[in-house]
Symmetry: C2
Subunit: 345 residues, 2 copies
């Protein structure tokens, strides 16, 4: 065996000199290096934007979904959707730990973990696709994957069922970033607040903004808003099409007396919602784009185009303690946990 | 005549309900609405990423460049490059001011202005392309353009020549954002520091970081670094290929004793530099992506992939006072002004 780069550059096939994530193709040979970890994969949790695209391309047909997924991994050595550029995460058990890492990390063979780095950079081999759970973006497989030395992971906790933990961990960055950004008294708008990451963001936003703040949930239908309303995640509920900036601006203006949001968190996995986020936010406000469907140029040029001095942040899927923060929500809120189990686990 | 939307939605042809920037096609009929301004265009300053792409597509041939530009405007009603998604800006004289605006703004017919909103949302008609200045991304035309009520602009100052002012205003957001971000003592890395926006960022960074800070200029060649070195814009000068993350990380590590940058400003208009920016920055540092070639997903997944808790900001071309801040640099630094005139005016 031999020592690899901690970031995994030794597995990049093309183009050379890049890291595994931006690389087009990486080596998914499952003989591990001295500082790698081999995982026996059970379940892939495909990124929501990616899985939506795959389902559309397959016209919802399960066999076609399987074909597309196998083809991606065959071509790239990783489940890195070439259309959306996004990945997802996986759950599995530790099969082997490289000698350089053994004893230096809190893992042992047999532990069940979720990888908290994207599938878009994780060497993956799929031997067989066993089940596609279309409604929750999860796919059970026989296969192996590799975690690099710099890769982050979470051991699946005993008190939270595996599928629930996986669903929560998949979007852990969003609520953790929300927790760090929101201050007491803030008006916070969550676009896509009825979705998988949006609901967790609402929960953290309400906890941090407190009684002097205002948390607004924007969703695309009354039905989805009703679910969130029952759990009491927000102070205001607004139906609007997030791709219609003028409509969103008017709705948010109504519930904020024209003041607009201090912080807008965009969790909606459809394209063309940048401008809605900008127009719904105060001129000196902050927008946190967690959606992988966000276009950098549309956001940058959109704000400039309407002369808004808004701070716009690229959602970083990782922030310190994100797994703990997100999983803790499932322990704190029985109602949200039940809803999450119903929808995503 | 009639009243239009202040953001220009009345000119969107497709898709309906969007704003002019994300729209595929807008109406470039030059009969103005009551709250629009008609501009007699002299010069287009094409966004650097866009013009680089057009030059490559045309193999550097001027007549082909003209064809591509005319084709973009013919198809979209605006100079919105469909490949890069970016625009640029223009200079011209005020030909007509809608009655709703006349007297309420600091402009009169005959004033020479630069529009500070992107060409990617500005209704434009090109009657004739007179001259293509390939090296400075400027194109002289006969044509007209329209400024919406929300559009921002700067009157060309008397003490700065027009072409110089246009070059500076084109990238005004970057130095102004730098001025707002950098604090005394910061280690600041400017990737693409030898370029049009990079040099202005270096100047502001050095002014704000002060004697206790360290400003690092990263460029792709010794020749370009030498130009900047002569003007004394940085404390350290580093040659590296910005698309090679490991190389960039090692060079920046050398000049910071392994500490890396507190703030990294990315001004390099080539794709695949997100990871270099991330690896060159402290785990709790901040990256400001001004480059229009930035990929949202590459940045988001890249940071997550290496477990870095970095704050990443989408460069907003507009911030309050950006035109004044950028133009003032030309008054403050005789040396930088001379270099700027040599390269870009």
């Amino acid at each position: 065996m031999k020592k690899g780069c901690k970031f995994g550059t030794h597995r990049v096939i093309e183009p050379k000199g890049t890291l595994p994530q931006p690389a087009w193709k990486i080596d998914n040979n499952m003989d591990i290096f001295d500082n790698e970890i081999l995982i026996n994969v059970e379940t892939l949790n495909i990124d929501s934007a990616s899985f939506t695209q795959i389902k559309e391309q397959a016209d919802g047909d399960v066999e076609k979904i399987k074909e597309i997924m196998l083809d991606i991994v065959e071509k790239r050595g990783k489940h890195h959707n070439p259309v959306t550029g996004s990945g997802g995460m996986l759950i599995g058990t530790i099969e082997k730990i490289g000698p350089d890492l053994e004893g230096n990390i809190d893992l042992k063979v047999g532990d069940k973990i979720a990888t908290l780095v994207s599938l878009s950079l994780t060497p993956l081999r799929i031997d067989n696709i066993k089940e596609v759970r279309k409604d929750i973006d999860q796919v059970d497989i026989d296969g192996k994957a590799i975690l690099f030395e710099s890769g982050i992971y979470a051991v699946i906790p005993d008190d939270i069922p595996q599928n629930l933990a996986l669903s929560v961990l998949d979007v852990a960055g969003a609520p953790a970033q929300t927790a760090k950004l929101v201050k007491p008294g803030d008006t916070v708008l969550v676009i896509g607040g009825t979705g998988k990451s949006g609901m967790l963001c609402l929960y953290e936003a309400k906890k941090r903004a407190g009684v002097t703040g205002k948390v607004i949930c924007l969703g695309h239908s009354e039905k989805s808003l009703d679910r969130v309303r029952k759990v009491g995640l927000a102070d205001e509920y607004v139906v609007a099409d997030a791709t219609k900036p003028v409509e969103v601006m008017e709705r948010v203006s109504e519930v904020t007396d024209g003041e607009m949001a201090d912080i807008t968190i965009n969790c909606v996995n459809v394209p063309n919602t940048e401008m809605s986020s900008i127009l719904a936010t105060k001129d000196d406000g902050l927008i946190y784009f967690f959606s992988m469907a966000t276009s950098f140029t549309k956001a940058a040029l959109g704000a400039e185009g309407v002369g808004m001095d808004t701070t716009m942040i690229i959602g970083n899927g990782y922030t310190k303690g994100h797994a703990q923060i997100a999983l803790e929500i499932m322990r704190e809120s029985k109602e949200l946990r039940e809803l999450y189990e119903e929808l995503y686990a």
